[in-house]
């Protein structure tokens, strides 16, 4: 159990779990807005991503693994949860940022086909891996080509979803009338850009040895944290009715 994997996963879990919980339990129609309202996909995305990280915690992983018919099936479930979370998020952000291209890519027919291919690929690569013992994120078998392909498939799917969203998020970070909104969209665009960069630079990662490999994983954690914090800033603005208070009457000078 390497602390370099457990600590970041635990921190991410705390961040995701607390922000998702906060989003769903915000007073004044919080749970209705979060789970049934316009932003329901974001709450669902948060729940799936939290579950994905939860499954990666070694005690949970081992517990779930004992129920699995397939060794390291827990890792597969965790990755499926992550894919669903990314798909929900991508589809929702494409509507929020008003990007028909991103909408088509994420939840249109191409999006469904790509999700199906990646999901099948993850199962295939897991079956092709010689992994007799449970290992969260298959880290003990990271040298095997099938595991490398397995990891890359997740990175590639995330990159596929976020790529068309970077531009609209960046544009909003320039034009959103709220300072908090600009910062939030900037964080989201930055997080997406990091995810895209990691997918494209994956071949460099393959040459890394020892603890350096964990640095690359941290890039993904940071990118996730950026996006999650960006969304939390929007939730904060909604809860505090920032648009109404900051952009209230132009006439008053008091």
């Amino acid at each position: 159990m390497n602390p370099l994997t457990v600590i970041p996963v635990s921190l991410m879990l705390i961040l995701l779990g607390s922000l998702t919980f906060k989003r769903v339990n915000t007073p004044v129609l919080g749970h209705q807005h979060a789970l049934q309202g316009k932003a329901s996909s974001i709450a669902l995305s948060g729940i799936f991503l939290t579950l994905a990280y939860l499954l990666l915690l070694p005690p949970v992983y081992m517990g779930v693994e004992s129920l699995m018919p397939l060794t390291n099936g827990t890792d597969l479930i965790s990755k499926y949860f992550a894919l669903v979370a990314v798909a929900f998020l991508g589809g929702h952000l494409s509507v929020a940022y008003d990007s028909p291209l991103a909408r088509r890519w994420t939840v249109g027919a191409p999006g469904a086909v790509v999700l199906g291919i990646v999901a099948t690929g993850l199962l295939g690569t897991l079956l092709a891996t010689e992994a007799p013992n449970p290992s969260p994120q298959l880290l003990d078998y990271a040298g095997q080509p099938s595991v490398r392909l397995n990891t890359w498939l997740v990175l590639a799917y995330v990159a596929y979803i976020v790529a068309p969203l970077i531009r609209p998020a960046y544009k909003d970070s320039r034009k959103n009338p709220l300072r908090g909104g600009r910062l939030a969209s900037g964080l989201i665009a930055g997080g997406f850009a990091l995810s895209l960069i990691r997918a494209f630079t994956y071949p460099v990662e393959l040459g890394a040895t020892g603890d350096v490999t964990y640095l690359f994983m941290i890039v993904s954690y940071i990118s996730t944290a950026f996006v999650v914090i960006g969304l939390a800033l929007f939730a904060y603005a909604r809860k505090n009715r920032t648009p109404q208070t900051e952009l209230g009457s132009l006439l008053s000078i008091d």
């Binding site: 509507v95 709220l178 929007f234 939730a235 648009p243 000078i253």
Partner: protein
């Protein structure tokens, strides 16, 4: 349009002021590092010249007119025109004046007694000044003189500011006092720019009905645009926070 460091040093020597950044910092309160950078780069900000002039009791207009970009400043009367003064009266004050003139019974002037006019600069006051001196093509001429894009000038006006270079270019195009632009952009105080202490109050009392109504009409038109922009901005922000929050 900063002034040259060589000219600045020469001017300091002429006024028996030490050109060392430390001494200047003590004299003006400006950060020593900022002064050091300005002198090293060879460009000294107008605000530095003005701060030294104020600290040494020199007339600010006289001080600025020593430097090449501002030699023309005294080539025209320093005092502002009536239109320039009126441009710095807030639309709410213009409308209050309209009410006072409309009915002494319903809107007695005494109601306003002891309450000052809204201070300037206020929202849109720089644009109002530009509109007041505009011969028709002022933005184009400002752009040609300074080499700055029209979009940049529009952005500056939206943010209710104008750099000194543009302010001087606007005054040149408008044919009025060169000092007025520096006053409305807060580089110098109204008193330093030759404004009477109650210039705006007096102008508001003296302005003819037709000029007052025209001024209100122009301001309301501007206000309409700004209120519409603000409404659109708020709707966009509400949509984003509803969808992502």
């Amino acid at each position: 349009m900063p002034v040259s460091a060589a000219e600045f040093r020469e001017w300091l020597e002429g006024n028996a002021v030490s050109p060392s950044p430390t001494a200047l910092s003590t004299l003006t309160g400006i950060n020593r590092g900022t002064l050091n950078n300005q002198l090293r780069r060879g460009n000294v900000a107008e605000s530095t010249v003005i701060a030294v002039a104020r600290a040494t009791g020199t007339n600010v207009i006289d001080a600025l007119s020593v430097f090449s970009p501002y030699r023309i400043i005294k080539s025209r009367p320093i005092k502002p025109s009536s239109a320039e003064v009126l441009s710095q009266v807030h639309h709410a004050d213009l409308m209050a004046e309209l009410q006072f003139r409309t009915s002494q019974r319903h809107y007695p002037r005494e109601m306003r007694k002891g309450i000052d006019l809204i201070a300037f600069p206020h929202d849109g006051s720089v644009r109002a000044w530009i509109d007041a001196i505009d011969p028709g093509d002022i933005r184009q001429r400002m752009s040609e003189e300074t080499g700055m894009a029209l979009t940049y000038i529009a952005t500056q006006l939206t943010e209710n500011k104008l750099n000194p270079h543009l302010a001087i270019a606007a005054s040149r195009a408008g044919g009025g006092s060169y000092a007025s632009g520096l006053v409305v952009t807060e580089l110098i105080t109204p008193t330093e720019g030759g404004w009477q202490i109650r210039a705006r109050e007096d102008e508001l009392l003296e302005v003819s009905d037709d000029v007052l109504v025209d001024a209100i009409s122009a301001r309301i038109h501007l206000l309409q645009r700004r209120v519409k922009q603000r409404k659109e901005a708020r709707e966009y922000a509400e949509k984003m926070t509803e969808l992502l929050g």
